[in-house]
């Protein structure tokens, strides 16, 4: 779908090759509103959540105004419209991740729920005492804690694939860590702290060689790199709408069709059943088996609009822009004397720059730069084990997306210099 076809939507930017973040910015109403009364909003926290373009906001409004009914329930025309919008969104998601069939697309609340769905539905049926689950040392808590819990319940063992000094995965250790006992390997495609882009296919090949499955946390990669489940050869893949310019409350679990077919349900309730008696039930086919109760329909529809929006601009163009801006930011932030964590070049990382200024604690830094309208994250970024590995209690983090410009990076650096001045 072309953006220009969206009622009320405006075409964002010239086609591939002509990507212009200044034009893209105009699609995002939030940037029309200053912060602290008169400061230009410098939003450098898209790894936490992305801003929303008008096309997405208007799509959600249009759903509520002209299509709102429960999906898969109503016999009447309005209900059919809601169901169609919801199922069209599934096809959009399937195309987005290059899934062979929309049956592989399960809607969830987001990455965290997608991963927990695998933990409960697949994990309880397939992981037993003596089995092993392998996670990497750079996982977000949402791709770590569920596996700790599953191991605690089942007596399975959790193992960790280390990273090296540059924040790259030690894939050379895969051989020793992936064994006959390994049932599942969980790897993030792109780190939300280091920005590292991981060689998921290499990990998947190692896992499949011993009959283990692979779960990919694509919370960061889906918005910034795009994902192709066929090329990654993964069995599960999870992402959130809100990080790719879509609404909160919607996300996707992709599951390999044959794996989903064999999986018992997650939540019990309406829509996930086929037939119910007072003491038992049979379950619906995939993917509905995993979508109990009324889903976040409008948000799912908004997610599809977000996917249409970023794919119309082109993931390649977005990635090229972010790579250029990240290279610029790495140099600019380093020029303040900050220590930067993660891979040294923009080729190896997404648009995430985690750093610390000597002498200024990241929380102080985030408060101080906020005075200038600059939004950065400070803390452990839901990756405490990784913080310990880096030997720091917390870091500051600037993360960039399609609407960021060199002006944003310059504003950050000016603000960092000021903070340094206060503390010197």
């Amino acid at each position: 779908m072309q953006l220009s076809e969206q009622p009320g939507g405006r075409r964002a930017a010239p086609g591939p090759g002509g990507f212009d973040p200044e034009v893209v910015r105009k699609d995002f109403p939030v940037f029309e509103h200053p912060v602290h009364e008169d400061k230009r909003l410098v939003y450098l926290d898209s790894a936490a959540t992305a801003q929303k373009p008008r096309a997405v906001i208007e799509r959600v409004v249009r759903f509520y105004e002209t299509e709102n009914a429960n999906a898969h329930r109503g016999i009447y025309e309005l209900g059919e419209r809601a169901t169609k919008a919801y199922e069209d969104a599934r096809e959009t998601c399937a195309r987005f991740v290059n899934a062979a069939t929309p049956r592989s697309i399960v809607f969830t609340r987001g990455t965290t729920e997608s991963i927990n769905l695998v933990r409960y539905a697949w994990g309880r049926a397939n992981v037993h005492e003596g089995d092993e689950i392998l996670v990497t040392e750079m996982e977000h808590h949402s791709n770590l804690v569920p596996w700790q819990m599953l191991c605690g319940e089942t007596g399975a063992t959790l193992r960790h694939l280390p990273i090296d000094e540059r924040g790259l995965l030690r894939t050379d250790l895969l051989d020793g860590l992936v064994t006959e006992r390994t049932r599942l390997v969980c790897v993030s495609h792109m780190s939300n702290v280091l920005g590292t882009i991981n060689p998921v296919r290499e990990v998947a090949d190692a896992a499949h060689a011993v009959g283990a499955l692979v779960l990919v946390d694509a919370a960061q990669s889906a918005p910034h790199l795009g994902v192709d489940v066929a090329a990654l050869d993964c069995d599960f893949l999870a992402f959130s709408a809100h990080k790719l310019c879509g609404p909160t409350g919607a996300g996707v679990l992709y599951g390999r069709e044959s794996v989903l077919e064999d999986m018992p349900p997650f939540h019990g309730g309406g829509e996930m059943i086929r037939e119910v008696w007072s003491d038992r039930a049979t379950y619906n086919e995939i993917p509905y088996r995993f979508e109990a109760g009324t889903m976040n329909i409008a948000q799912v529809v908004g997610m599809a609009a977000a996917i249409d929006y970023i794919t119309a601009l082109g993931l390649d163009a977005i990635r090229a822009h972010e790579r250029e801006l990240t290279a610029y930011a790495l140099d600019a932030v380093a020029s303040t004397g900050a220590e930067i964590y993660g891979p040294p070049t923009a080729e190896q990382r997404g648009g995430v720059v985690a750093f610390n200024l000597p002498e200024v604690h990241p929380h102080d830094l985030a408060t101080i730069v906020d005075e200038d309208g600059v939004c950065i994250r400070a803390g452990h970024h839901c990756a405490q084990p990784l913080m310990r590995r880096l030997g720091v209690p917390a870091t500051a983090r600037a993360s960039m997306y399609l609407y960021n410009t060199r002006d944003d990076v310059d504003a950050l650096v000016a603000s960092l210099e000021q903070a340094k001045g206060w503390f010197s």
Binding site: H361, P362, H363, D364, T367, A378, G379
Partner: protein, 143 residues
């Protein structure tokens, strides 16, 4: 108070040269607390003489607001009757919650910590030391 003034006039002096920083031996109470969200850490040592908080010291790391507030706290409450230390801590908490204005007669210079109220996410940094003190007084049965 502007953020710059808050930092330059209140926080940074104590952050750069914290008072009563280090272990206190012997001590009656030792407590370690942290702010899980921020990773701010504090280790508080209390020594009593009867009902008086005879000495107090702290170790810690974290943002300047957490560490400066703890330093200011030790300077204020050292030597006071435990009951009075507790009253000050309660008063600081009420001030930070926006329930009280902060009475300069009770709090003295600590009233300047009110500047943090404008930065809601930082309030728990400022209160880390104070909450730890209240727990310590409780644990010692001096509250």
């Amino acid at each position: 108070m502007s953020l710059e003034d808050l930092y330059k006039e209140v926080i940074l002096d104590h952050y750069r040269s914290p008072r009563n920083k280090g272990r206190l031996d012997p001590h009656d109470v030792r407590l370690e607390r942290n702010n899980p969200l921020c990773g701010d850490e504090i280790e508080l040592f209390l020594r009593f003489d009867g009902d008086d908080l005879e000495a107090i010291a702290f170790e810690g790391k974290g943002c300047s607001i957490s560490q400066a507030s703890a330093s200011m706290m030790t300077e204020k409450v050292a030597g006071l009757p435990a009951k009075q230390a507790r009253a000050i801590a309660e008063s600081i908490k009420a001030m930070m919650a926006g329930e009280e204005d902060g009475d300069p007669d009770v709090l003295g210079d600590l009233v300047s910590l009110k500047g943090v109220v404008k930065y809601p996410v930082r309030i728990k940094c400022a209160l880390l030391g104070w909450n730890t003190l209240l727990e310590g007084l409780e644990e010692a049965g001096r509250a």
